[in-house]
């Protein structure tokens, strides 16, 4: 029974940081680049593009009242390693500026934020100057160690996973069958072990199950978090999926055995003149295509899902002229409801596919030769 309060605590923890710590930033109408609510297709497109990217502050939504734009969300810490060493400040220092206009001075360094990236102005420069392609010419990019929205999501999910599954692990010390929330988690653990790790890896599954479980639950929970209005898009970040795919690559490369490499480099049962060619293809597959496909599949599916859901929600605004406010709202509601349901499935499916393929690749690398 102790688990239920814990679960409630962990869930309310999310809501607490979401709602009590929010700060509202105001922007005067004149300063805003739009000045109006987001309602033209271009603005919607920009809004969606902005959403699927990583961000330095946790922005949940904006609203307009009295001609002022209010942002609801909370700032996140910005940690930079620039020309003059480490500097840290809250992202609220930029006042929601993303065009390089607001200069934050810390020590001897001046930072600006431009399209989601933080630049450090060269010494002596007082404002950003751009080249023709709108790239800054008088600024360098510091090493960005900030707790961005994605990092915040990663930390949050990591913490939740530790709390939930650590709690489940603790339960087993006292009883054989978990109670409360652990009863929900146990079948999931068993599912990953019995349906993903065991059949794909074979008898050596035990060593890799920890990695596969971490990947599965990490991706799945983050995918589901992405469907909430909090606006996480962690698994839709190319950098995140690239890191996951790279770790899978490293895991199966380091666990591979001689049998695997003999098949990679000198495929038995194939004419000799074809073997070098096959070796090139196999190597390309193992080293590049497999991790690349893992990386792109997850990134593309999740990002596409976010864009589609937001676009369908945007129908409520963009189709108002053709269908009246009520009609377009109903249409957008029905369509986005359906696509959200599909996205719930996709959230699981992509976590499953990523984990299953990782297990498959590991299984291929550790497979023992069959004794005839």
């Amino acid at each position: 029974m102790k688990v239920i309060p814990k679960t409630i605590t962990s869930l309310s923890f999310i809501f607490l940081i979401s709602f009590t710590a929010f700060a509202t930033g105001d922007k005067k109408e004149g300063q805003s680049s739009h000045g109006d609510p987001v309602n033209t297709p271009e603005e919607i497109n920009e809004y969606i593009q902005h959403h699927v990217k990583d961000s330095h502050d946790f922005h949940m939504f904006s609203y307009f009242s009295d001609g002022e734009e209010h942002h609801v969300g909370f700032p996140l810490p910005v940690i930079l390693w620039g020309e003059n060493g480490l500097s840290a400040f809250m992202s609220s220092a930029f006042h929601h500026d993303d065009d390089g206009k607001e200069i934050v001075a810390k020590g001897e360094s001046n930072f600006v934020r431009l399209h989601g990236k933080i630049y450090e102005l060269n010494a002596g420069a007082t404002e950003v100057s751009f080249d023709e392609a709108h790239h800054p010419t008088n600024a360098s990019t510091p090493i960005d160690l900030s707790i961005t929205k994605s990092v915040f999501g990663i930390l949050l999910i990591g913490l939740l996973m530790l709390l939930w599954f650590g709690g489940l692990a603790k339960q087993y010390k006292k009883k054989a069958i978990p109670t409360g929330f652990g009863r929900v988690l146990e079948p999931l653990v068993l599912y990953v072990r019995d349906e993903i790790a065991k059949p794909n890896i074979g008898p050596k599954y035990r060593k890799f199950t920890g990695y596969l479980m971490t990947v599965f639950f990490f991706i799945w929970i983050l995918n589901l978090m992405g469907l909430t209005p909090f606006g996480f898009n962690v698994t839709g970040q190319l950098a995140v999926t690239a890191a996951l795919a790279l770790i899978t690559l490293v895991v199966y490369l380091f666990s591979s055995n001689g049998h695997f490499w003999s098949h990679q480099l000198w495929m038995p049962g194939v004419p000799y003149f074809l073997r070098p060619l096959l070796a090139v293809i196999e190597l390309a597959g193992t080293l590049i295509i497999k991790p690349f496909s893992l990386m792109v599949r997850l990134f593309a599916n999740i990002t596409a899902g976010h864009i589609v859901v937001m676009s369908l929600i945007a129908i409520g605004i963009t189709m108002q002229e053709q269908m009246s406010a009520v009609g377009s709202t109903i249409l957008s509601f029905i369509l986005s409801l359906f696509i959200t349901l599909i996205e719930v499935l996709v959230a699981f499916l992509q976590a499953y596919i990523f984990t299953m393929l990782s297990a498959l690749f590991i299984g291929m690398a550790v497979e023992e030769p069959e004794h005839h």
Binding site: S146, I154, M161, A169, K170, G210, Q237, L238
Partner: protein, 166 residues
């Protein structure tokens, strides 16, 4: 492709890699290892219990088979015992009958012999009594017959009458 690369943030990649490796380490240490061990233990104990139950069932069956065998044996033994008893009984009855008959025959024979002897004695006694009786009677008759003259004469006449002289 260019847009893909533009979307790719090296900083986030490094942060994700490090954080995820830490997460894997922590999860393996604090969650997966104890969970998997506990699950394995539980499955093994369940399997052990099932095996034990199966063994117990087999043992029960063996015991039952043994019991049945014992019962069968006991039944067979009883049958043979009863049969033997029956045989003994008939034999005993036969024997008793034979013996009794022999005894009876013997007794009858003895009785008959005794009866015969008694009868003979009785007859002999009767004969001697009859003899003495008849001698007495004859004596008395003779005495009375010869007491007066007439009668003596009568008798002589009668006897003379019978004894015809040829």
């Amino acid at each position: 492709m260019e847009q893909l690369l533009e979307n790719f943030s090296l900083d986030l990649f490094v942060k994700q890699t490090i954080l995820f490796l830490v997460l894997i380490f922590l999860m393996v240490k604090f969650a997966w290892k104890p969970i998997l061990t506990a699950l394995n233990d539980r499955e093994e104990s369940i399997q052990g219990a099932l095996d034990a139950a199966e063994d117990a069932k087999k043992e029960m069956q063996n015991l039952q088979a043994d019991n049945e065998k014992l019962i069968k044996e006991a039944r067979a033994e009883r049958e043979t015992l009863l049969k033997e008893a029956r045989e003994i009984k008939t034999k005993m009855i036969e024997d008793a009958k034979g013996e009794a008959k022999a005894e009876a025959d013997k007794m009858i024979a003895q009785a008959q012999a005794a009866i015969e002897a008694e009868r003979k004695a009785a007859v002999a006694d009767l004969k001697s009594q009859v003899a003495s009786l008849s001698v007495d009677i004859a004596e008395k008759v003779v005495k009375s017959e010869l007491s007066n003259k007439d009668k003596q004469l009568g008798l002589v006449e009668e006897m003379l009458g019978q004894a015809t002289l040829n």
